[in-house]
């Protein structure tokens, strides 16, 4: 009986997972936001403490492959930054970044009545990674002679008084890769710009070591981090909406692992008895 249970068509598991995610949505079941993680709170507090007009940089280092996790963070952050009347500058180290920035910021800016070029700017993609971050430490306008729309940065009001990292209140790297480490090594440590990160859950464990040293002042971890940030800024979004499905799917996988183990050890015991 256990053998049948362990080796059935894997498409049944696919169906179970699909149902676990779908049913909470169809029944419109939502959960409270849960406890706010300390690292989420510290990022929120850091932005709260910035004086009005301070430039804040978000590095959009993710692509469509991790968008469901990171885009809700980006929208909540953009909302927080723009609604506090801080200046928002979007940069990126990855090629899909410019479009990710537009997707996240344009609807939020529209909702808040914020103007492109005055309140926020998308500086677009430049290659180089570490080299680019180093160049920004000397001159951001030299690193970005134009924005993503090919406007000269020197003429954009949002860029007034922005020379290098000294003028940036905070950099938040939203990433699905090792980009935050590059930012820490080439921007935070040499130029002492404040840094935080929002990363996919896969990457998150790798960044706690930088929190403990103060190289990062805050960290958003996966969809839960996004949901928490949405709660803190008081904005409905896809982060919170997904948490019920996320909970059910986790419970399902845990149950599956337990059944799998019971089955495996039962079969093993039978086999060793037969021998």
């Amino acid at each position: 009986m256990w053998e049948k249970l362990l080796y059935f068509d894997r498409r049944i598991i696919f169906l179970l997972i699909g149902a676990a995610v779908l049913i909470p949505f169809l029944t419109q079941w939502t959960l409270p936001h849960g406890k706010i993680t300390a690292t989420t709170q510290s990022l929120f507090d850091a932005i709260e403490q910035l004086p009005v007009g301070t430039p804040v940089m978000i590095s959009f280092d993710y692509g469509p492959s991790s968008m469901p996790e990171v885009e809700p963070m980006a929208k909540a952050l953009a909302y927080h930054i723009l609604s506090r009347n801080l200046r928002l500058m979007a940069v990126t180290l990855v090629i899909t970044g410019p479009q990710m920035a537009d997707r996240a910021i344009i609807p939020v800016a529209k909702q808040l009545g914020k103007k492109y070029g005055k309140d926020w700017v998308n500086l677009g993609f430049k290659p180089g990674g570490a080299v680019l971050l180093t160049q920004m430490g000397e001159s951001i306008k030299r690193a970005y002679p134009t924005d993503a729309r090919n406007n000269p940065t020197i003429k954009l009001p949002v860029m007034t008084g922005v020379e290098n990292y000294d003028d940036i209140g905070l950099v938040v790297d939203l990433a699905s890769s090792g980009a935050p480490t590059t930012w820490i090594v080439y921007a935070h440590d040499p130029y002492r710009v404040n840094m935080a990160a929002g990363v996919t859950a896969v990457e998150a464990v790798d960044y706690y070591k930088f929190l403990q040293t103060g190289q990062l002042i805050g960290l958003l971890n996966g969809l839960k981090g996004a949901a928490e940030y949405e709660f803190l800024v008081g904005r409905k979004g896809f982060g919170k909406l997904g948490m019920a499905s996320q909970s059910v799917a986790h419970l399902l996988i845990i149950v599956l692992v337990i059944i799998g183990n019971i089955g495996y050890f039962t079969i093993e015991r039978h086999r060793s008895r037969r021998r």
């Binding site: 598991i13 959960l31 692509g63 479009q99 537009d102 706690y208 070591k209 839960k224 996988i253």
Partner: protein, 212 residues
């Protein structure tokens, strides 16, 4: 000479960066910023390099009438269409390029990666076994993290699963990750030194005429 000159060039560029780091002398500053510009420009060309192998593999498939060669046409035609709109009509919001990105590239890429949810669940069910002390530890920690990262366990009042999972990540897991990082960082420094000194040459490989 075909190898020595590039190695010397790499050494000079790298040595200059190291000198500049320790002696940020103002007269060097101009050259320093210029070199950074240069590296970024060359980096842009390098990014386009990947297209060569993409074309080569699909054209080869079409030429050899590979069973799936018809799909290679799909890849090449979709490249041509996207490239045409991108280059000639720009990449700004509300362009055709942006429309294709948001309505074709985004759903395709996001959905391909979301397939992993299904395969991971199936793999966890079939292979995740508590066979040894170490495997059991891994499994138990994974389960605690899975529970601690979703709000449903906040209903359990007598034990703080969320807090415990955060502690697991910020102390013991961080210790392990930091141990690994030391190894990785020393590896980065050693490889960088080997590149500078011309001992590591694999990135210069291909092209024949080595040593001449």
């Amino acid at each position: 000479m075909r190898l020595q000159i590039p190695i010397a060039l790499g050494f000079l560029a790298g040595a200059f960066m190291i000198v500049q780091f320790f002696v940020p002398y103002y007269a060097l500053q101009m050259y320093y910023e210029q070199l950074l510009d240069w590296a970024i420009i060359i980096g842009a060309f390098a990014l386009v390099l990947g297209l060569g192998s993409l074309f080569r593999s699909h054209i080869d498939k079409i030429r050899s009438r590979h069973p799936d060669y018809i799909y290679s046409f799909v890849a090449l035609i979709s490249f041509a269409v996207m490239f045409f709109f991108g280059i000639f009509y720009g990449v700004n919001p509300r362009t055709t390029f942006d429309w294709i990105f948001n309505n074709i590239q985004v759903p395709l890429e996001a959905t391909v990666f979301s397939l992993l949810a299904f395969f991971m669940a199936s793999a966890a069910y079939r292979t995740f076994r508590a066979r040894s002390v170490e495997a059991t530890l891994l499994l138990v920690v994974a389960v605690i993290i899975m529970l601690g990262r979703v709000p449903i366990t906040d209903y359990i009042k007598f034990v703080d699963i969320h807090g415990f999972s955060e502690w697991l990540m910020s102390i013991p897991a961080t210790a392990a990750k930091r141990g690994i990082l030391f190894g990785v960082a020393l590896g980065i420094v050693a490889t960088s030194l080997r590149i500078l000194l011309g001992i590591e040459r694999s990135h210069l490989g291909g092209g024949g005429g080595a040593g001449r």
